[in-house]
Symmetry: C2
Subunit: 212 residues, 2 copies
C-alpha cells in the first residue's frame, strides 16, 4: 500500500509482535483461504488495516518463492501493489505506520525488496500510463499534481511541462473551476481531474510504432 504523504512516497507497514522477525516491519497480508481469489484475499486482509474503499488501484506485483524467504517455514507469497490517493488518511491500527519508501526500517522476510519493486513498478507506470489518478486527489491544481509526481518519481518535474504532457495525452482535463489564491496572493489555479479512474496505458510504444 503506497501513498504520498508529507511530500514523500510512503508504504504502510506493520510491526510484527511475534517471532519470526519480531519487531521488524512487514507488509499487511495473510493466508489465502479455500476458494478465494488472491485479490479477494488481499482485500480481506487489508480490511483489517484500512478501509478498503480507499484503495484506488490494486495490481499484482509478483509471487515470491525462495525457500529461505521465511526462516521458519516454506511459504509462497504473492505481492500486490495498492495505491491510496493523497489527502485520504485511513484509520490504521496502533501497530501499523507509514514509512517513506526511500528510508525503510528493518523489514521482515523479503518485504523490503517487495516494497522497492512496487515503488519501481509505480515509477514506470507514471511515465506511460494514467497511474497518477490513483495517487492524486480526485480534483487538484497543477501545483498539487506536480508535488505528487515529484514525491513518487523522486526527481523534479515542472508543472508547466507536466500539464502539457498529460493534456496532450488526454489524461487530465480542466473541471472549469478555479482555486482561490491564498493569503500571499497569486493568480487562482485551474482545477483539473483525471479523465479515467481506471488504469489505462497512454503511451504504449516508446519506439517501433506500427506504421499507419
Amino acid at each position: 500500500m503506497l501513498q504520498v504523504r508529507d511530500g514523500a512516497l510512503q508504504a504502510l507497514l506493520w510491526q510484527r509482535g511475534r517471532e519470526p522477525c519480531r519487531g521488524a516491519w512487514a507488509l499487511p497480508g495473510g493466508l489465502l483461504e479455500q476458494g478465494e481469489t488472491l485479490e479477494e484475499s488481499i482485500r480481506r486482509h487489508l480490511a483489517a488495516k484500512v478501509d478498503v474503499r480507499e484503495v484506488s488501484h490494486l495490481e499484482q506485483l509478483g509471487t515470491y518463492s525462495e525457500p529461505d524467504r521465511d526462516p521458519t517455514a516454506w511459504e509462497l507469497a504473492t505481492a500486490y501493489l495498492g495505491l491510496v490517493q493523497l489527502g485520504l488518511d485511513p484509520h490504521i491500527p496502533d501497530d501499523t505506520c507509514w514509512h517513506p519508501v526511500d528510508q525503510l526500517p528493518p523489514t521482515a522476510f523479503d518485504h523490503g525488496g517487495i516494497v522497492l519493486a512496487g515503488r519501481d513498478r509505480l515509477r514506470g507506470k507514471l511515465s506511460y500510463s494514467n497511474a497518477g489518478f490513483a495517487l492524486a486527489p480526485s480534483t487538484f491544481t497543477l501545483a498539487e499534481l506536480r508535488e505528487v509526481y515529484v514525491a513518487a518519481l523522486g526527481y523534479e518535474v515542472s508543472a508547466t511541462n507536466l500539464r502539457r504532457v498529460l493534456e496532450r495525452r488526454a489524461v487530465i482535463e480542466p473541471t472549469g473551476e478555479r482555486r482561490p489564491s491564498g493569503r500571499a496572493g497569486g493568480r487562482p489555479a485551474e482545477v483539473f481531474r483525471f479523465r479515467e479512474q481506471r488504469l489505462a496505458i497512454t503511451d504504449p510504444f516508446a519506439a517501433l510504432r506500427p506504421r499507419r
Copy 2:
C-alpha cells in the same frame, strides 16, 4: 514458451490426454515440490518437454487464482514467459506442438489468456528493452532480425529504421562479418549480434524524464 517459427510467433502447447479438458491444449508445467523455487519448478517441468539450455529468457508473468479456472479442483498457477531463439528446433514429445499465438486451438483452463498475456508482455518489452536477443539467433542480418520483429509484433517494421533504433540504443553491434548474397545476387549483408544476452531496459522513460 514462445518462439518465432515460420514467420509467426508460436507457443509450445501440450495436448491433454486426461480429464479435465481432455484433448484441449495446455501450457507445459506441473506441481511445485517442497522447498523448490517457482523458477526451478518451471525449469524442471520444461526439461521434460525441451532442452532447458535452449530457453534464452524466462520471466514471471503472474499468478492466477480464480477458483473456477480448473473445473475439478481449486488450484493456483504461476505462469512464466519463456523465449527460445529462432532457428533452434528443440526435440519435443509427440503430444506437444507449436501453435501460432494468433490462431490458438481450444485451450485448457485459462491457458489461452495466459498465452495472450505472454504475447502482450513480449510485445511491450520489444519496444523498450533488448528482449529481441531472446528471440533472434545469436548472429543475424538485419533482414533476419526484421522478420523476427515482424512476427513477434504483428505489424510491419522497416529494416532501415530498426537498425537505427537498435544501434542508437547500443542494443546491437556489427560483428564485422558479412553474409554472402544468394543466387539472386544482391549486396552481402552485414552480420550483427546483440550486445547483451540478458534482459536490460533500454528506454526507461517514455516521458517525464528526470532533467539532466
